[in-house]
């Protein structure tokens, strides 16, 4: 005899804004299937039900039961049971690797029409999906909706095929809601704002067919959709699509948003399916009319992005990484990682640009004469102290590493010295072939990090006399050393620009040095005085804010009650399906109005009174629900899990 009592309590609180971060109630039922199935008399029907592929779900019992009253009588289940009357015409098969199970019923009669449930575990526990079976004479039966069971944050690809008549018509996808069908995307370029950046509509090869891809699927994307041609409600045809989003815990998700600092770089990671590692991969920017390709694995780079983007393939991790640097405000938007096959592997990321200081600093444009030595310096902040740094030469297929020196002395020191944090790429004698883009970058644990791009322009020209003016600041002047320029392969540049300008003026002598030093000193003095005056004034003017001016009516008792009911809307992390102990049946008792008022009033006074009222209620209801619900039990099918029966 098993009894379970459920109680509904209501608590009213002042209005707070509901955040869309919280799971909607529909998210809590992960079992998904068709809501309506149509069958012909004497025909057969197959019902497919999906479930999240966790270990417990894959091993648990699957059932198909018929609703009668408040319970659900098993028709067929994976424990081997088949109800009387369904022998030989009902079967159930589980496909745990494909996260679904199928029920087939043949020899349909009119009596078979009704309300059923397909589910996992024990009947009536809520881990199920309601299906309505309709049996008609025919000969034509409506086509059911196409089901899509999609993991949270992943991508869904839906294809709709119509005949040739749809070839030149407007094609659209709309989402059904209570008031009609809300247009999501169509071939005229209209895109709903909730889907901006993450939906693409593309025509297939066969005329009249098109496919829609949506990435970053969220809970709100579950529901009924219609894809079609023409206009909804007016002309053309539509097909029904039923989409359900489920969550699989413990699976790491790709970042949906990447924040890039203006002038710096951003790294995008794209995952692809293992089977198709040799197919063409490309990276594109989302536009309302499609996705414009920026770079692909065949070596194509869009001319607008020359020197700014590179793609690195990593077959072991089944990812390819795209780095975009020299970020500008116009780079913000949505970027898609695409592969020619395996549409489900496409993913999209939103790039946001913020103001800030890039980590890697250096001169971005360097001009040099043919034959002269050139140093490209890149200084890094302390946070990259332990990272691997490199210089590479950019080409449209990849960025080939070039040996460079790291000014940090290798040694057992743990501190990060303010000076000597540069990597220098030196050319003893630069040639025309060396012209191009060079990237300075960091990697850490195999992950590609920030990069900085430098363009080296090599000009034909005379040597000697013109060297001093034409060479830019970080090429050391030959006059300084007076020695062989080749010998100065690795100079000690600290803060690079200041050192450079000073060295080129070395010939002027120490008088300039003294002058510049005194100037800087004077400026500093003025600044310090100004700052001191400003702070003094601010102190005089500011009000000393007293703590008492704020409303602070905190007392110990407030802590008690605040904790109890004032807890803000913090959602606990969603976990998987719930489990009930005990047998198969529920007895639901509604709280009667007067006792509800009682409990409510009791709650308002104090917690102790509430506990008292609750326990009294339990005592009274316990005596009233002693009736044995044997007539509803589904006992013949499986014995309730008792202690002895588990060997």
């Amino acid at each position: 005899m098993t009894l379970v009592v459920s109680i509904l309590l209501l608590a009213l609180l002042p209005a707070q804004s509901a955040s869309s971060r919280y799971l909607p109630k529909s998210a809590s039922n992960p079992v998904f299937g068709p809501w309506q199935v149509y069958g012909l008399l004497n025909g057969s029907v197959t019902i497919t039900c999906f479930y999240p592929p966790t270990s417990v779900n894959r091993h648990d019992r699957k059932y198909w039961c018929r609703e009668s009253g408040s319970s659900c009588r098993t028709v067929v289940s994976t424990s081997g049971y088949v109800a009387a009357g369904y022998q030989g015409r009902a079967s159930i098969t589980d496909y745990p690797e494909s996260k679904h199970f199928q029920i087939t019923i043949s020899g349909l009669t009119e009596a078979d029409a009704g309300s059923y449930q397909c589910g996992i575990g024990i009947n009536g526990r809520g881990l199920s999906h309601k299906v309505s079976l309709d049996v008609s004479e025919g000969p034509h039966i409506p086509e059911g909706a196409e089901l899509f069971y999609v993991e949270l944050h992943s991508t869904v690809s839906m294809t709709c095929s119509f005949g040739k008549e749809a070839a030149n018509e407007r094609k659209f996808l709309c989402k059904l809601d209570k008031s009609g069908c809300r247009n999501i995307i169509d071939t005229y370029g209209n895109v709903d704002e909730d889907y901006t950046g993450r939906i693409l509509l593309s025509n297939e090869d066969t005329p009249g067919s098109f496919s829609i891809m949506i990435t970053q699927m969220g809970w709100q994307d579950s529901g009924f959709y219609l894809c079609g041609y023409g206009a909804y409600g007016e002309s053309g045809e539509t097909k029904e699509l039923d989409v359900h989003v489920y969550e699989r815990t413990n699976v790491p998700q790709g970042k949906p948003t990447i924040i890039g600092i203006k002038g710096s770089s951003a790294t995008f990671e794209c995952h692809y399916a293992p089977l198709r590692s040799s197919s063409l991969k490309y990276w594109c920017k989302w536009r309302e009319k499609g996705c414009s390709r920026i770079i692909d694995s065949s070596g194509f780079v869009s001319p607008l992005y020359e020197g700014r983007v590179t793609m690195v393939n990593n077959p072991e991790n089944k990812t390819f990484t795209v780095i975009l640097n020299q970020l500008k405000d116009s780079d913000k938007g949505y970027y898609w990682c695409m592969t020619e096959e395996e549409k489900e592997q496409q993913s999209s990321t939103e790039l946001k640009i913020i103001e800030g200081e890039p980590g890697l600093q250096g001169q971005k444009d360097v001009e040099a004469q043919v034959g002269s030595p050139v140093d490209l310096t890149c200084s890094y902040p302390c946070k990259y102290y332990s990272y691997q740094k490199y210089w590479c030469k950019w080409s449209s297929t990849n960025c080939t590493p070039v040996p460079a020196s790291d000014q940090r002395q290798p040694g057992p020191d743990v501190t990060c010295d303010r000076d000597n944090r540069t990597i220098i790429l030196s050319f003893d004698s630069v040639t025309k072939a060396d012209q191009g883009w060079y990237w300075c970058g960091v990697t850490h644990n195999g992950l590609l990090g920030e990069t900085m791009a430098v363009y080296l322009a090599v000009a034909e020209g005379q040597s000697d006399g013109h060297n001093l003016e034409i060479e830019k600041v970080d090429a050391p002047s030959p006059a300084e050393t007076g020695g062989n320029p080749q010998g100065r392969a690795f100079s000690d540049a600290g803060v690079q620009s200041a050192a450079g300008s000073e060295s080129s003026d070395q010939s002027q002598g120490s008088s300039t040095l003294v002058l510049s030093l005194s100037l800087t000193g004077a400026v500093l003095l003025v600044l310090v005085t100004a700052f001191a005056i400003f702070k003094y004034r601010q102190l005089k003017r500011s009000d000393l804010v007293s703590v008492g001016s704020y409303r602070t009516n905190i007392s110990m008792s407030d802590f008690e009650s605040v904790k109890g009911y004032g807890a803000s809307n913090n959602a606990c992390v969603k976990e998987n399906e719930e489990t009930q102990m005990g047998g198969d049946e529920f007895i639901t008792t509604e709280v009667t109005p007067e006792s509800a008022a009682e409990t409510k009033k009791a709650k308002r006074s104090s917690k102790e009174d509430a506990d008292l009222a609750y326990s009294t209620y339990l005592l009274t209801s316990g005596t009233s629900t002693q009736g044995d619900p044997k007539e509803h039990s589904t006992a013949p099918e499986v014995p309730p899990p008792t202690w002895q029966g588990q060997i």
Binding site: L9, K25, S55, K178, E577, G582
Partner: protein
Amino acid sequence: VLAGYPWDSEDEEAVLVNNKCQCVTVTSKLVPSKENPEEEVVERNIRILVPLQARENISDPLSPLRTTFVYRMTELCRKCNPVEIELGGEIHQVQQSTSCDVPETCYTYNRDKCYSSTFPFLYQGETRSIQAALTPASCYVD
């Protein structure tokens, strides 16, 4: 056609608490206030399923039946699972609640965990202690 679809009657209801251990769900939605229908207030639904056949210790079926069930909103609303947030361009794992070290007494089984117990097994005159699964579906290795 539209009327036939199984619409969620309350589409804006959000799940705040879904505690598998104590079997409590708390959902909230905005409803017009009873005093002033123009205004909307938050209504919270607390659903508690009390497993009356549960044992004091759910891992030991020989312990006595549990007769006291205590539900505290502070414990139910605790968010102890670490989440990722972005600070200064780097990802950090943070835990949103304090006192997460206190172990929770569960009144019912968590479907993703395996519960087992030993029991004396009499076979051929010999009594041995055998381990048996209380929740077999959850106890598979793969």
